[in-house]
Amino acid sequence: MSTPSTAIGIAAAVRSGSMSAVDAVEQSLERIGASDGDIGAFLTVTASSARDEAAAIDAAVASGSDPGPLAGVPIAIKDNMCTRGIPTTCASRMLDGWLPPYDATVISRLRTAGAVIVGKTNLDEFAMGSSTENSAFGVTKNPHDPTRVPGGSSGGSAAAVAAGFVPVSLGSDTGGSIRQPAGLCGVVGVKPTYGAVSRLGLVAFASSLDQIGPFAGNVADAAVVLEAIAGHDPGDSTSIPEPFGPLGAAVPRGVEGMRVGRITDLPAGADPDVTERFEAAFDALADAGADIVDVEVPAFTYGLTAYYLIAPAEASSNLARYDGVRYGHRVAAPDTDAMYVATRTDGFGAEVKRRILLGTYALSAGYYDAYYGKAQRVRRLIADDFARAYTHADVLLTPTAPTVAFEIGAKSDDPLAMYLCDTYTIPSNLAGHPAMSVPFGTGADGLPVGVQVLAPAVGEATMFAVGAALERAMGAQR
């Protein structure tokens, strides 16, 4: 019997006693040790605590108790989720060496489910970026081609799964930061409905858009992890009280009779190789029995603008707390105000500063109505347009990203070009809807292409059914 490599397989083996959690974790640590030097997915590897936790799970199994649905599953965590006593840097000099005094809700829930955290992964500083090049601690490489980016901002978590270091990982998605790297790394990435997963302990980038979600090698594993971390949290005021239904049953359900929407006014800009795979996805779903219907989402195209006003505005406020007083980086100065300026100027990287400036401008006196206020209204338009589209379709399909993984450095001097990577992913965040990227073959240079499935709020089950159907179609084509 070969060693299981999926989360579901590992958990089943550990719970049945046919494999130890210690072995599962040891294998993961070995792979990280052997290859992460080339990839740079991890900022911290928690080998020692992971071994202890794995041993505790084995002891639980031996004593006859059930450690949970993720028993012994090694998992990697994007380094913007608080882990008590474990560095949580947000890939910023500002939080270099900071040890949180508390765990994020998702961390406690993963532990309750029996998962073992093997490390914290690289990201664009404070999750601002689409390539993981904006990390203060180095670039993560795409495991499919180390000269290319893994996407971002959750590039480390995507690469960790793509490289086989862990079967599953967590990322956060504010404008596509799970789905875009999932697409570029050829793994499954899910952004749940806003409020489905607690944000407590997720270091905020843009509070009304941020959402934690899983990366996995397959759709069923993503479902198990999402079920483990989702659910109401009284510690997050925006946590929704009635979560989506069970996902496991949705995975094998199929798409017979389901209405899959094609957005006829989708913004152009995807490369031909990406478009080809996207069209193939419609064909695959039609073959599986779905009805392909045309819908319009006229405001989709304004998502980018609304997002790049709202997200920086919220970020400018969320990141004001990094002032050198209570934790993190401080640059000495003769008075407190000078200390603020010195600390923040030195502690933040270029992209973070750019967005703080943009967001501060969008909120500042005299500009609020022209920028932030207007963007909030565009946001409503987008949500309304989606609502209309979902009266005709159960899910919508778009490419995840306009291109396959690009060369490291290709877009780092052109913020706008980088922002355009998020064209297709942003509208779901603005509307608060779930969306997932599923690998669907390869494009230029044999690099992975992802297809994005969009669903209405708490429509995760339907979305997973469609994602799984795409996955099965790809498996059949192989």
Binding site: W98, L99, P101, Y102, T193, Y194, G195, L209, P234, S237, T238, I240, T301, L304, T305, A306, Y308, D323, G324, V325, R326, Y327, R330, A332, A333, D335, T336, D337, A338, M339, Y340, V341, A342, R344, T345, F348, R354, I356, L357, L358, Y361, S364, G366, Y367, Y371, K374, A375, Q376, R377, V378, R380, L381, A383, P415, L416, Y419, L430, G432, H433, A457
Partner: protein, 100 residues
């Protein structure tokens, strides 16, 4: 949209955000933010007066907690993470001005 972003706008905003920019940084920021904001002029064409702003994606109201005391964080653990602490307090250099 408002007019094109100026040097003064960038300097004002940098001051509000407590970011230090030298003159080259200001020029670069004016160019970058100007280009981005120009792209964002696409929403100027929209008729938005009748559209309600949307602050949050999921419409929740009245999320409250009971007034019950929970455990405080450990002061030593917290102060160990502080750049400077004295006598159980966080220490900062002299404060000029009245802040707010």
């Amino acid at each position: 949209m408002a007019g094109r972003i100026t040097d003064d706008d960038v300097a004002h905003v940098a001051r509000l955000a407590r970011l230090g920019l030298d003159p080259d940084d200001v020029q670069r920021a004016v160019a970058e933010l100007g280009a981005v904001l120009e792209h964002f002029a696409d929403i100027d064409a929209l008729e938005l007066d009748a559209v309600e702003p949307m602050a949050q994606p999921y419409p929740l109201t009245n999320v409250l907690r009971e007034d019950v005391v929970t455990t405080s964080l450990d002061r030593d653990e917290v102060l160990a993470q502080a750049p400077d602490a004295v006598d159980g307090r966080f220490a900062v250099p002299p404060i000029l001005g009245d802040g707010a």
